[in-house]
Amino acid sequence: MSDLIKYNLRKNPFAHITPNFSFSNKRNMVWADMAKLKDKFEKIFKRLISRGEKQVVLNWGTWGGGKTFCALYYYNEHLENENIESIYIRLPKEGKTIDFNLQKEIFDFISFNKIKSKIQELKTLMAEDELLKYLTNIIKSEEYAKAILLIGNNSKATDDLIKHYMFNGLNKSELKKLDLARNIDSVNERAKFIAGIFSLFTYKDEDRLVLWIDEMEDLVHLNSKDSTKVSMFLRDLIDLLNRSVTIFFNFSLAENQRSTLEYLLGEALSRRIQNYIQFDSFDKENAFIYISELIMAHQIKRNESLFPLDKKMVNRIVDDIPPEKLTPGEVNKVFSELLNLALDEDSDNISIDLYNQYLSNVSAFS
């Protein structure tokens, strides 16, 4: 048990300043306040899970508004569901090889061994020819369907070659060894290959796949040629996948910049987005509820108090945060720091004096 026991807390309720997949586990995640937003996501997942509807959703809004947290939350929610494969990546930053890096990020997240196991599992359900037909039918390329099925082989030498094929490309003699005619070169070919991999995870009627692509705002750092590659890749991927898949794009953007979205995503990709979900800043009342619910969800002995804070103190801090910065991210940052300061100072509670000390130490709310 941590030092926080003196504050009747299991852990720091505000610790998710920058959500990180490496430390997440289901019991850590608390969705506080933002009930309407949660309702929207619940509906999207209901449509996906119950009807297998293909959906493309764009989550947009201010920095620190909770988009990454949302991805992490639902990733955790579905972690133990064997029928849902969730993939989370951030938009790669390297422009010149952006399509290759997107492919690589997706492979890395799923992992070679998981793809191999999935193919081997599917081979127990049907003949390899049938699986080849299934993939070919979706991605419209027997060549890449054949390449994907090679991942499910039982030879170390083939494993090495196919990994090279996926990440670096092979020379002619290596391609010949695998009986393949060509590498994965163009944006369209990459989309086909990834769509084939995804389709392995949506073969059964009850199978579902969720792809989160975070930090899509980084498209602004790409020149027109490279950002077109991203749009083409995602457009082709969306078109090739015909069911059981939901793709979320997270895009940080100020409210008055909404019109920039279409220009950055490109017209073709924008047209394929069915649902835009806005992550707003809090109003003061929502911020208070968010803070209260987080504290209460982390209490050792459940009660209605906001200890080590109190109602007056919470309202004071919320009042001090400029309205445009009143986001879950900023609230987490401020309250997490305050809690750490209280522990450092061995303080009995978070008093106005401690808060003033915090303000004097940091460039608050900057």
């Binding site: 920095w63 750092h221 790409l222 020149n223 940080s252 953007l253 019109s259 920039t260 220009y263 950055l264």
Partner: protein, 209 residues
């Protein structure tokens, strides 16, 4: 267009580089479109700076050399002393300072009135140029983004799609402008893109291509 009716644009090295990043705007660079509509000038030290940052699609050095303007009204030293209260023997911001001298000299010696000072170095605008550049209401001050909007208005073959691609390209290549964090850099670029997209949409309402 007769060269006497064109804008006379005094271009900084930062803008010259941004206008020659790519040549795939209908097979041309932005600079090629720009030179079809405007006269391009710069001081000799900007020419040297451009040569130090040559890109694949810049005009050949001899062609570029033709844009170098020779002062007639005063010397660079005299201009620098009067405009900046000092003559910096070092080379800090010399290109920006001397290009201002070129712009003023065109008015003072030749009476040109259709003048434009083009610069993408926003640090220099807020720093060394912040007083002197804004003291003479004789010329317009543009960035490469303004050049794009201008081309959309004035060049019959420069379309909206070319303008949007050009905005994205220059925005992605923009000097960092000292952002403290990655988020700040991203926000700044989105804001910049958003501002100029709004201008393009406004222009499009009036001039449909």
């Amino acid at each position: 267009m007769s060269k006497y009716h064109r804008y006379n644009c005094v271009v900084d090295a930062s803008s010259y580089v941004n206008l020659t990043l790519f040549n795939d705007y209908a097979g041309k660079t932005l600079l090629e479109f720009f030179t079809e509509q405007a006269n391009i000038h710069f001081c000799r030290c900007v020419n040297q700076e451009i040569n130090r940052h040559r890109t694949e699609f810049m005009p050949k050095p001899l062609t570029q050399e033709k844009s170098v303007y020779n002062l007639q009204y005063k010397t660079f030293k005299e201009y620098e002393l009067k405009l900046f209260d000092e003559y910096d023997e070092g080379k800090k911001n010399r290109g920006e300072k001397w290009n201002l001298a070129v712009t003023l000299d065109m008015f003072l010696s030749k009476g040109y009135k259709n003048l434009v000072y083009v610069i993408d170095d926003f640090n220099a605008l807020r720093g060394v140029l912040k007083t002197s550049l804004y003291s003479f209401p004789l010329y317009q001050i543009w960035s490469s983004f303004d050049v794009i909007v201008y081309l959309l208005i004035d060049h019959k073959n420069f379309t909206r799609d070319l303008a949007i691609n050009a905005l994205k390209d220059i925005n992605a290549n923009l000097a960092n402008d000292d952002p403290k964090t990655k988020r700040e850099k991203t926000e700044r670029r989105i804001t910049n893109l958003n501002n100029y997209i709004k201008k393009i949409e406004r222009v499009q309402k009036l001039i449909v291509k």
